[in-house]
């Protein structure tokens, strides 16, 4: 194991504990830790970061009452489902799947029919009180299902095959699905095709420059880049970085849209990770930078551009 790999693994562990990793770098870290597991020993960098955060955290506000009521209803739902499941399958592994810790809980709760948005800003027609009752109703529905699916007469033998309680499990959307959802739902979507320059990264195949597009919604502060034919990069040598020019900001300082890799040929979709809110984007530019990206790009290598006309 080289010193460079160890350094890279430590950098990624620190990044994971403070700003998170994208899927590509997470996989890279997993591969490195498989070779040097001692780097991830306890206490972890995550625990260190959490300890600092906690040391400076001052509890100024209690949990809002309406939000507490909603979480309480969700807890009832969660533990009722777990309890019913363990009663039905006491000796088996849980048949009722719970959402993965890595999946967005809000999405799963929405799929369960539980109202999750209680902000007066986002749901002006629904009072917190009404929301709380809806949450309780959802929990009550789950309890009712749990009761109704139990054997009704204890003395009777249980049927050989009994339908399990099924809690719908939302599958975390793929990047492609997330992009499709944004395209379908955003009302202010910008969609632009990339224009390839003469940079070698965009001219891998002779006569076939890299193509693809970028979509962005300022309302959602979300977007995706799609690439076809952009050169596969070695993350240890260089990485791609997105820059977003915003009409509301000084054009000398475009917003960092995230550092990313092209791990394979064929279509690659990358979510945009804008470092600052983007209000009125005018230009999206891809540069080739050193590993980890840069704060200010020299723009020496600029393989792709997408300009708002």
């Amino acid at each position: 194991m080289t010193q460079a790999n160890e350094e890279r693994a430590l950098d990624l562990l620190v990044a994971r504990a403070t700003e998170g990793l994208d899927t590509t770098t997470e996989r890279e870290l997993e591969a490195l830790l498989a070779k040097i597991p001692e780097l991830d020993e306890e206490p972890s960098f995550e625990l260190a970061a959490a300890s600092i955060d906690l040391a400076y955290t001052v509890q100024q506000q209690p949990l809002p009452e309406a939000l507490r009521g909603l979480v309480s209803a969700q807890a009832t739902e969660f533990f009722a489902a777990s309890s019913a499941q363990s009663e039905q399958f006491p000796t088996q592994q849980p048949a009722t799947q719970q959402p993965s810790a890595e999946q967005p809980a809000t999405a799963s709760l929405r799929d369960h029919g539980t109202v999750t948005q209680i902000s007066e800003h986002t749901t002006p027609n629904r009072s917190p009180e009404a929301t709380r009752w809806l949450g309780w109703l959802a929990a009550a529905a789950v309890l009712l299902i749990a009761i109704m699916t139990r054997p009704s007469v204890p003395d009777q033998p249980a049927p050989e095959v009994e339908a399990p309680i099924v809690v719908e499990v939302p599958v975390a959307p793929t990047t492609a699905e997330a992009r499709a959802a944004l395209v379908a739902q955003a009302t202010d979507l910008i969609q632009l095709d990339w224009t390839a320059t003469d940079d070698p990264a965009a001219q891998v195949a002779s006569g076939q420059p890299a193509t693809g597009d970028v979509v962005w919604s300022s309302a959602d502060q979300a977007g995706f880049m799609r690439f076809n034919g952009l050169a596969v990069n070695d993350p240890g040598q260089h990485q791609y970085q997105l820059w977003i020019f915003d009409a509301e900001q000084d054009e000398r300082y475009p917003v960092d849209g995230g550092v990313f890799n092209i791990p394979e040929s064929g279509e690659v979709i990358v979510p945009i990770a804008a470092a600052l809110p983007i209000v009125n984007p005018t230009l999206f530019a891809i540069t080739v930078e050193k590993p980890g990206g840069v704060v200010v790009s020299s723009r020496e290598r600029l393989p792709l551009l997408a300009k708002v006309s």
Partner: protein, 186 residues
């Protein structure tokens, strides 16, 4: 010192969920508000954090972390994930003056966790610039590139400062501490 809640939660005791909110609801809400841009985002985050806590309660090990630190770690994991799926929060406006205020406030907060006290001591050993960078990365939740822009430093220097700060805290946490009384949070 009060009885730890997570072990009972891990055994599926629903009443423990209410106790968890009683004791740590304010902490979770404070973390969520600080690490998200809007109240609506914070509300979503709180729900995700509590779900993650219910699911991960059984993994809590008092020998590795105190209860509030474990909860903060789970909360941060969800908040960082949310950051990566949504826009990042605007850069903090505070500079040295805010850090002084934070230091003043910190003393009242020590009871929140044994590790927090050790971490605060370790952070105090950093020079002011290093401390500022480390707090921007942890307490303020800024990305490394945001910090570089905010403090006018090369990204590499920012990364070095953060790494040094976290390693120092890691070393501090690695020092032996009193074994917890079974079922009692430290």
């Amino acid at each position: 010192m009060s009885e730890a809640i997570l072990p009972r939660l891990g055994r599926g005791n629903p009443e423990a969920a209410e106790e968890l909110m009683d004791r740590y609801g304010g902490l979770v809400w404070s973390l969520a508000r600080r690490h998200t841009r809007t109240a609506s985002d914070a509300e979503d985050a709180v729900q995700e954090i509590f779900l993650a806590l219910w699911k991960n309660a059984a993994r809590f090990d008092e020998l590795k972390a105190s209860e509030p630190t474990f909860i903060t770690m789970i909360a941060r994991r969800r908040l960082i994930d949310l950051h990566r799926h949504r826009s990042r929060r605007p850069p903090a406006e505070g500079g040295a003056a805010e850090l002084e205020t934070l230091t003043d406030l910190r003393a009242d907060n020590i009871e929140l966790g044994a590790e927090a006290k050790q971490a605060a001591r370790a952070v105090d050993k950093l020079n002011p610039k290093e401390r500022e960078v480390v707090l921007l990365a942890t307490y303020h939740g800024m990305s490394h590139s945001e910090i570089a822009t905010h403090v006018g430093m090369p990204l590499g220097t920012v990364k070095t400062y953060i790494r040094r700060g976290l390693m120092l805290v890691r070393e501090a946490l690695n020092k032996p501490r009193p074994a917890p009384v079974p079922g009692v949070a430290t």
